[in-house]
Each structure stands twice: as structure tokens, then as C-alpha cells.
């Protein structure tokens, strides 16, 4: 698991915080349990990306600690290990691909880890199979669609055999097709690896094991999707919104209070509730 213990962060070099408004993370207490699919939501500037970059020591807390499977990211002797364990994929697919062919790009990580050649080959095969990009292995990455590029970026991380996959708004620059490619890849990977997915798309949270909400550098709520999205008033205060299914149900609920014991999150749930009501 990844534990955040009282983590505060600000971007200036100063050891102490000068102005309160510069604090990007404030006293974050959080646990990302192993094996789960966790989704983090929060408005622009709430500290989501900064939090993500703490997961593998890309950023280090100014106060508090981040512990990955017992290893403190503040201790530089652990960093190598931690970065192998926690793979990050970022927002812009064009900024993450460096090699001139897909397979070379996927090989980059394991090569840097000093993995032997035949093992690298195996890992490339495996990783490209998982993300469904094996047919493209000799292709030049710039010829791929956004969704395909992100899948290659994820394959590059998987080839390092991490235990945690952190997706920092990895779907936000993709078209609907690309997004659904990544979401079905997530459901395929689910269970075999811990997934920490940061997004603005509320719909991408309804299937999560656990939802975390950040606002103004703090974790303001966490829980199962159904519990989180039944807190409608707060959802809007945090700059978010309900899935359209739940919003429709909420309007109906005001008219027919017995219709939904709790707001449904998926269309099928809404329809089922309606069918048994009439």
C-alpha cells in the first residue's frame, strides 16, 4: 500500500511555508490499498497531480511522509525501488513517448533497470499483448492515435513490472474512443495491479473500488462510489458533478421519495429501479 502521513507540499525551495496560499497539499492523510482500483477526483488546482507525483518520489513532501510498501520516499536509497514499483502515466500522450518505434519505447524502462536482453523481449511481448498493441510494435509512435499512444505509454510502465499504476489524467486529452480503450484496459488490469486513476470524468469513477475527493490541497472525502455520489450537495461544492444518471434520479427522487433507496450510478440500475417501481 501507499500511505500518505500528514503530507504537506509547496513548490518554493523554502523549508517553511511563507504564504498559506502557496500550500499545494495540506496535511494529507491517505491510504491506497494494494490491489484496488482507486479513483481520485477534484477540481483544477486541487492538488491531484501533485499528490500523484508523490506516489513514486517524483516530488517529496515538505512535511510528513509517503511510504510505499514500507519504504519512505524521503530516503534516497529506496527511490530506485519505489520508482520500479510505482509507474506513472501522464496526461499528454505526446510528451511521454521517446523512442522511434513502439517496441523500443516499451523497452526503454526495463533497459534502464538493467534487465537482460531476452527477458526484455519477453516483457515487451507481454506488455504489448496486454494493451493490445502487438500489431503496432514496429510502428513509429507519432503515427498512432492518442488512445494508442497512451496504451504504449502504459505498456512501457507495465514492462517494468510495477505493483502500482498511477494514471495522472491519462484520459483527459483523449477522444471518446481513446478514453474507452483506456477504461477497458483498466478493467482488464484490475485486480492484477493496484490502479490509482486521477480524472475529471465523473463517469470513470462509478466502477471504482474506492473514490477519493480532493479540494484545496486536502482529502475532503473518500468512500465507495455509491456513498460518495449520494452526497450531492457536497459534490457540487467541491466543483464536481453527479453522473447524469444519478442527476436524473435525484430530480425524480424529489418527486417520488421511495423510488430510489440510494441514487443509482449506472443507467442499468436506474432502469431496474424504475421497472420495479411502476
Amino acid at each position: 500500500m501507499i500511505e500518505f502521513n500528514g503530507v504537506s507540499f509547496w513548490f518554493s525551495e523554502e523549508e517553511t511555508l511563507i504564504e498559506k496560499k502557496d500550500e499545494v497539499l495540506h496535511n494529507v492523510e491517505l491510504v491506497i490499498p494494494k490491489g484496488e482500483f482507486v479513483v481520485l477526483l477534484g477540481r483544477n488546482g486541487s492538488g491531484k497531480s501533485t499528490l500523484a507525483k508523490h506516489c513514486n518520489g517524483l516530488l517529496l513532501p515538505k512535511k510528513g511522509t509517503v511510504i510505499v510498501d514500507g519504504k519512505n520516499t524521503n530516503q534516497s536509497e529506496y527511490l530506485w525501488d519505489i520508482r520500479q514499483k510505482v509507474g506513472l502515466v501522464f496526461q499528454n500522450p505526446d510528451n511521454q513517448i521517446i523512442a522511434t518505434t513502439v517496441e523500443e519505447d516499451v523497452a526503454f524502462g526495463p533497459e534502464n533497470l538493467g534487465v537482460p536482453q531476452d527477458e526484455i523481449r519477453k516483457r515487451i511481448d507481454q506488455a504489448l499483448n496486454i494493451v493490445g498493441m502487438n500489431d503496432f510494435r514496429k510502428k513509429e509512435p507519432h503515427l498512432l492515435s492518442g488512445g494508442q499512444k497512451q496504451r504504449v505509454a502504459i505498456a512501457g510502465v507495465l514492462a517494468m513490472q510495477p505493483e502500482y499504476l498511477v494514471l495522472d489524467e491519462a484520459t483527459s486529452m483523449l477522444d471518446p474512443e481513446g478514453r474507452s480503450e483506456i477504461m477497458s484496459l483498466i478493467s482488464q488490469l484490475r485486480g492484477s495491479i493496484t490502479i490509482f486513476h486521477i480524472t475529471h470524468y465523473i463517469e470513470e469513477a462509478v466502477d471504482a473500488d474506492w473514490v477519493i475527493i480532493m479540494d484545496q490541497g486536502q482529502v475532503v472525502a473518500q468512500g465507495k462510489p455509491v456513498d460518495i455520489f449520494n452526497r450531492r450537495g457536497q459534490i457540487y461544492e467541491w466543483g464536481l458533478e453527479l453522473p447524469l444518471v444519478s442527476e436524473t434520479a435525484w430530480i425524480l427522487q424529489r418527486r417520488f421519495p421511495e423510488l430510489f433507496p440510494s441514487l443509482p450510478l449506472k443507467a442499468e440500475e436506474l432502469v431496474a429501479a424504475l421497472c420495479s417501481f411502476v
Binding site: 492518442g146 489524467e169 464536481l240 458533478e241 436524473t248
Partner: protein, 287 residues
Amino acid sequence: MFIRLENVYYSYFQHTPFEVQALKNVTLTIDRGESVGIIGRTGCGKSTLIQHFNALLFPTQGFVMIDGDKIQKKGSQLRGIRKKIGLVFQYPEHQIFEETVFDEVAFGPRNNGVGGEELEETVKWALESVGLDYQELHKKNPFELSGGQMRRVAIASILSMRPEALILDEPTAGLDPEGKRLILRKLKDLREENQTTLVFVSHSMDDLAMIAERIIVMDQGTIGLDGSVRHIFSQGKILDQYGIKPPTTARIAELLRKKGFDIEEGILTAQELSEQIEEKILKGGSH
């Protein structure tokens, strides 16, 4: 006939072995005051199309007319067209370069010789049109603002030219839900108050269901479908061929219809959908 394209063809890398035909025989009219969503798969020609609307690209065949004038590749006319038709690119905040919000928004009108009080009024109007407080923000460095605010400053810097049409490429991409709602609401107000023509390129059918009245579906460089938003979004099966999923509300309505609920076609918002459902419940269910 505010924006008119007649038999427009456009090729990238023309007369080279890499020639790609991005638009094929596109004929299209957008009237003043319309709100049009342009949708379609990535690579279908949406971005190429809208760049013809303000003469950033010129047809390799066919012609474009703006407000009755046929576009020629002449400098004097182009200036007028680009003032009349503002184009907001994707992630426009990446193009912010001035050091204060004021200077950023004032850039366009200043270049057109606007100064003094008129300039201040214009900047104020543009910022307020996108829901930003002039007093609070005009002296700030745009790079210190939040993502949603930067996006709105970037839109304001196009608005300050007082365009008659605003063409926006994915205006809500990457924004949080609140920022998205705010931008859509402000654009709606702008249209109501100034009859500004709005054209959106978007992948978000849920956004378009809220703001567009007409939808154009592009497909491999041609116009696949063109019609009212209610009509187009109720064509689930046909949209599927163009790689488009109808808005969430339309999909829920379709599921309900399959279960025997007699829900009308062309549902766009959660409000409309819930009203329809309510009516069916009160009638005692239809199955």
C-alpha cells in the same frame, strides 16, 4: 448566410506524394446567431473545416463566403474576417504570452488601434462575459490562475475583438466539471445577449446536448449528417456508424424504451428525461 462553404476541397501537402485529402466537396451554410456542434471521429476533418471559417486555411478547390464576401487570399480582407470570426484553439491557454491578464485580453484590440477608455471598457466587457472579475484579475499574471480561469482569459482575449462568431475547438477539454459548466453557461449568455454565432468542435455529446441547436457530423472529410440536435442525437444506430455515442440522457431514454417505457425521442437534458419518466410513472406505468 453568414458563413458559406461551397464545394470546398482541401488537401494537405498538395502536389506531393504525401497529399492527404482532408475535406471533400463540403457545402455548408451557417446563419447568424446559430449554435452549431461539429462532431466526428478524430481525423474526420473537423479542425480543417473550422480553419476555413476564418481564412486560416484556403480551399484547394471551391470557395468560402463570409457575410456575403467571397474570401480571397488578400491581406486587407483577411484582417476584417479574422476580426469578425474569432477562433479559439484547443487548449488556448497554451498560447497566453502577456504578463498581465489586462495585456493579454487587450492584445487584439490594441493591434486594431483601440486605446484609452475604449480599450479598458472592451477588456472589462470581455472578462465579464466569461465570468471573470475585472477588478480582481486584470493586474494578475495569467500564469498564476487556475486552469479554468486561464481558459476563460484565453477565450476573453478572442472576445475582446468583439467577433460576430466564435469558433471553439474543444472549449471544455481538461476542465473540471464546474469550469466546464461555467464556460458553457457564459457562452450561452453571450449568444443570447449579443446574437454571437457559436460553432463548437467537441467530443462531448453531453456538452453539446446542453448548448448546441444544430449538429453536423463529419466523416472522412465530408458531411455525414446535418440536422437539429434533437433529431441527430436520437439516431443512435446511425451515429454508431460514425463512431459516435449519443449523449448519456439519450442512451438512458433508449434503455427505458426497450423496457417498455414510452419515452419521447430527442431527450437532451436530465431535466427533460426526468419529466418524461415522471409522466410515465404518474400514468401508472406502461407495461
